[in-house]
């Protein structure tokens, strides 16, 4: 007879006996030990990190104060001398401070801070990381060089920084930040290399910046290749054009006008938004067929056209909105047309909610005129009344005069 009953464990399927029970107990012990060890490690690491943070706060404050003193309080900041006397932890913290200050400062101060970057060895390290590092090392290095406005050799960028559109944009951004002569030519080449599907927001912004410096390389490339680009890239190129405005000079914009006929409605909308910025450019305007707006089958495209014409804002553009917008079959597009027309009125007093503009209508507004039904006219009346009311409230919200009570009564009245 055994001295003790065999160890057993009970499960929903009945008692476990012998080796099975021992294995289960061992598993529980091992699992429990692992969980306990993980908890101890997590707690220990948290305490260590908190201690480090506590030590870094006064260190960072002291470094910040010294940095500002050297930057603004002396003729010669003597960065090398300062950095030579710092510990490794202090250098690490100072590099972090340099990063945030370089992002906020411009002009002479940024140039002075670049000297601190040299003293910390950032310039050389960044070049090494670009030449020998992995993707994230290179990205990190590119960010530093852009912050320090330090353009490396172009071959270094072309050879090592072309893996993704984002990396190419980061490389182009350095040239922009350093204000190099080839910022636009090399920048556009890098950005549009391998014809990306689309840019990141950073890429679009970088394209805008290099094109603003010199629009020719971008416009020449777009004139040649725009039709082959995917719609997402086309929209982004048009977005850049929209914001470049007077910088473009006499650049060839025929591809922008041509994109009004794109089979993709989002591209047509983007084209109208871009052209809205070119009301001053008579040569471009003369190539736009305003009569074709009403024939566009997509309401958001027509709405974009009304906004663009509103931005042009002259009599010819307003007449085109009145011709198409007051009879637009889509409610949202009608509201856009009404809002655009209301915004053209010189003052709130000039806008009568009960007297919307009429295009091609005779004096008898109750009857059908020029093929326009009474229903169409009534539909635009509703949009007009909404737009007038909205404009009044918007004006009240933005008004900064102390005559606010009068405005309040006017809107309520």
């Amino acid at each position: 007879m055994p001295l003790a009953a065999p160890t057993t464990a009970t499960s929903v399927y009945g008692p476990l006996a012998g080796p099975q029970s021992g294995t289960l107990s061992l598993a529980v012990v091992v699992l429990g030990s692992l969980l306990f060890a993980a908890a101890v490690l997590t707690l220990g690491y948290s305490l260590l990190a908190a201690r480090r943070r506590r030590r870094r706060v006064p260190m960072r404050a002291a470094l910040r104060s010294e940095l500002l003193d050297r930057l603004y309080g002396r003729d010669d900041p003597a960065w090398d001398e300062w950095v030579a006397g710092l510990s490794a932890a202090e250098r690490d913290e100072l590099e972090s401070l340099l990063d945030v200050y370089l992002r906020e400062l411009d002009g002479r101060d940024a140039d002075a801070l670049a000297g601190l970057g040299r003293a910390l060895g950032v310039h050389e390290r960044a070049r090494r990381e670009i030449a020998n590092g992995g993707y994230w090392d290179r990205t990190h290095a590119l960010v530093w060089l852009a912050l320090l406005r330090d353009a490396p050799d172009r071959d270094l960028l072309r050879t090592h920084c072309t893996e993704t559109p984002r990396e190419r944009a980061a490389a182009a951004r350095i040239l922009y930040a350093a204000e190099t002569d080839d910022c636009a030519t090399t920048g556009v080449d890098l950005l549009l290399r391998d014809e990306p599907e689309s840019f990141s927001v950073f890429g679009v912004d970088t394209l805008y910046r290099v094109a603003e410096r010199d629009p020719s390389p971008f416009f020449e490339r777009a004139a040649a290749d725009f039709a082959r680009w995917p719609p997402a890239l086309q929209r982004q190129a048009l977005l850049v054009v929209r914001h470049l405005t007077t910088v473009v000079g006499d650049a060839d914009l025929s591809w922008v006008v041509g994109s009004l006929s794109s089979p993709d409605p989002s591209v047509r909308s983007a084209a109208w938004r871009a052209l809205g910025a070119y009301g001053w450019n008579r040569a471009v305007r003369d190539t736009v067929d305003l009569a074709a707006i009403a024939a566009d089958p997509t309401p958001p495209v027509r709405a974009s056209a009304y906004r663009a014409l509103g931005t042009w804002g002259d009599a010819e553009a307003i007449a085109a909105i009145e011709a198409a917008g007051t009879a637009d079959p889509d409610a949202r597009a009608r509201v856009t047309a009404a809002e655009t027309l209301v915004s053209q009125r010189t003052s709130a007093e000039a806008v009568d909610p009960n007297d919307p503009p009429r295009a091609d209508l005779g004096t008898d507004r109750t009857a059908s005129a020029n093929g326009r039904s009474v229903d169409e006219t009534a539909a635009f009346d509703v949009a007009w009344a909404w737009a007038v009311e909205h404009a009044r409230f918007d004006r009240l919200a933005r008004d900064i005069s102390r005559d606010r009570d009068r405005l309040h009564d006017e809107v309520r009245g």
């Binding site: 500002l68 603004y72 992002r103 400062l105 002009g107 002479r108 933005r398 008004d399 900064i400 102390r402």
Partner: protein, 126 residues
């Protein structure tokens, strides 16, 4: 008599730069960490700064919203107090919106603190 300024920015780096430059230039400073704190500072009975420096994008109350409140005379501070807007936005529409709200000056980040100080001094001395 010392000049005084109220600065409001939720970015510690910008605050440190403004504090350093303006205090070295002889300004007594009231430093606010967001728009609402600045609104309260400007609504105190003895609030009479020579200039106000506002960031546009701040927690709790945007700079443009606060600026309109000042210009409408809804706070204790003089509605005509010079205001400099400071923002990372550089689009024409944003600059126009800031100026429409009543800003006297508008600087975009990254900025030159020396330029900012020159503009502030010009406003205060005007």
């Amino acid at each position: 008599m010392a000049k005084s300024a109220v600065i409001a920015d939720d970015d510690e780096t910008i605050r440190s730069i403004l504090q350093y430059k303006l205090s070295n230039a002889g300004y007594d400073l009231t430093v606010c960490l967001d728009g609402e704190e600045c609104r309260q500072a400007l609504d105190e009975a003895d609030a009479a700064p020579d200039v106000v420096v506002l960031d546009v994008m701040m927690p709790r109350m945007k700079g443009t919203q606060l600026l309109r409140t000042i210009r409408r005379g809804e706070l204790a501070v003089d509605p005509e107090v010079p205001v400099v807007m400071l923002t990372s936005r550089g689009q024409e529409a944003d600059v126009l919106k800031g100026l429409d709200s009543g800003a006297d000056e508008y600087l975009t980040k990254p900025f030159s603190p020396n330029e900012l100080l020159a503009r502030i001094d010009r406003l205060v001395e005007a």
